[in-house]
């Protein structure tokens, strides 16, 4: 349990770091962080339940995209803000590294396995995003605050 909390907080801080690098307004930092943290926690949970990190990525990205859409409506901001920052923990950075590593080491079997896995993760991420973003906006209407039209951000 403690481990999950630590993982969530670290993923939250990591996501906020990226929000800062992309010049997201300060008021949205926490929401970006929660989106990223939630995505990562579901990734970790999914990895305990089964062993494929492609499936885990798909589950995590679905959760993340739903969170991003809820926050987008709730905070009257474009969904991009939460989605791009929150996706970073799931982007296959490790996949890129190990693909390069095995290629350099001449371990062709491991190389092709890693390259294929990285590609599959990218496809899973794409699928999850497309799936959730194509849901009709009416579903998320309940999270809309009344003052969206008059609220001024920065």
């Amino acid at each position: 349990m403690i481990n999950f909390i630590v993982q969530f907080v670290v993923a939250l801080v990591a996501t906020i770091s990226f929000a800062l690098l992309f010049h997201v307004p300060r008021t949205e930092f926490l929401y970006c962080g929660i989106t990223g943290g939630a995505g990562w926690i579901f990734y970790v949970l999914a990895m305990q339940w089964q062993s494929s990190n492609v499936v885990a990525s798909l589950i995590a990205v679905i959760v993340l995209a739903i969170m991003a859409r809820i926050f987008a409506v709730f905070r009257c901001c474009p969904v991009t803000v939460y989605l791009i920052c929150g996706i970073f923990p799931l982007v296959p950075g490790a996949g890129i590294y190990y693909t390069a590593y095995h290629f350099i080491m001449g371990e062709m079997e491991l190389f092709s396995a890693k390259a294929m896995e990285t590609f599959k993760i990218a496809v899973a991420i794409a699928l999850g995003i497309v799936l959730i973003l194509s849901l009709p906006g009416a579903i998320f209407k309940i999270f809309s605050p009344r003052n969206c039209k008059t609220r001024k951000i920065n």
């Binding site: 801080v13 929000a19 800062l20 890129i96 590294y97 390069a100 794409a126 497309v130 008059t150 920065n154």
Partner: protein, 258 residues
């Protein structure tokens, strides 16, 4: 009420800022159409690509004016996207006059970037956190932190230079790997080179290009989606080349396989 040409100017300006801030095609197109409609230009035609946009207004079946803008790749600025989104929503309520909207756009266009030191800290923190998430220990995270500091200083330094994006990413990834290697083997910080390097290169990974590409494809903007997908693939390959090159170099110089 502003005339149609003036509306076109406003709309194109808004689209330009959105696009250079890194918004997806659909958002740029929709925002432009909404603003035009709010000011009474009902026949606006826009066509937006990743690096340029075309727009024209039509009245009584003939084109009044058309505008074309080339929007070169710029640094992602989410603050601008949020601000324009907000502005367009307020314009739609009809409470903002044309000149007010123009002033707002000029203000948004020069919204500052986050200060340098905060960006260095953020890059370092991001690298350290990801190193930890991918299974590195606390000391590995510290090594990634230092690599992150040096990486962001390098990125800030090369920001003004017109360095090719591929070369830039190869150099940056190589630098991050070298620093990680030095941290581990010279200063003895950390124990897993792979985890440290993975953390250190994360700030370079094309998450934004990949996500925007997916969204463009989903909205049917295949051309723009392809442009961004190629960007993402090139950056990912550049990172792999940078890291791989350093690993080979280390192997050749020290005589041990890493």
């Amino acid at each position: 009420m502003p005339d149609q040409k003036a509306i076109l100017q406003l709309v194109v300006h808004a689209g330009e800022i959105l696009l250079s801030g890194g918004a997806e095609i659909f958002r740029v197109q929709e925002t432009m159409e909404r603003i035009a409609k709010a000011y009474g230009a009902n026949k606006l035609h826009v066509y937006v690509l990743t690096n340029g946009l075309f727009a024209s207004v039509e009245d009584d079946g003939k084109t009044l004016n058309s505008e074309l803008r080339y929007v070169p790749r710029a640094a992602m600025h989410m603050g601008k996207i949020v601000a324009i989104n907000d502005l367009s929503r307020r314009i739609e309520t009809g409470k903002i006059s044309y000149s007010q909207a123009m002033n707002e756009l000029d203000r948004i266009n020069v919204l500052p970037f986050t200060n340098k030191y905060a960006r260095i800290a953020a890059c370092a923190m991001g690298a350290a956190c990801f190193c930890y998430l991918y299974g590195g220990g606390v000391w590995d995270a510290l090594a990634a932190f230092i690599s992150g500091v040096i990486l962001q200083i390098f990125l800030l330094f090369t920001e003004k230079q017109t360095l090719n994006r591929i070369v830039l990413n190869i150099l940056a990834a190589a630098l991050a790997s070298i620093v990680s290697f030095i941290m581990l083997n010279v200063f003895g910080i950390g124990s897993n080179l792979d985890k440290i390097i993975i953390g250190a290169i994360i700030p370079l990974v094309p998450g934004m290009a990949l996500t925007t590409s997916i969204r463009d494809f989903a909205n049917g903007d295949y051309l723009s989606g392809t442009i961004r997908l190629i960007d993402a693939l090139l950056v990912a390959s550049s990172i792999a080349i940078g890291v791989g090159g350093v690993l080979v170099g280390i192997g050749l110089i020290t005589g041990v396989a890493v």
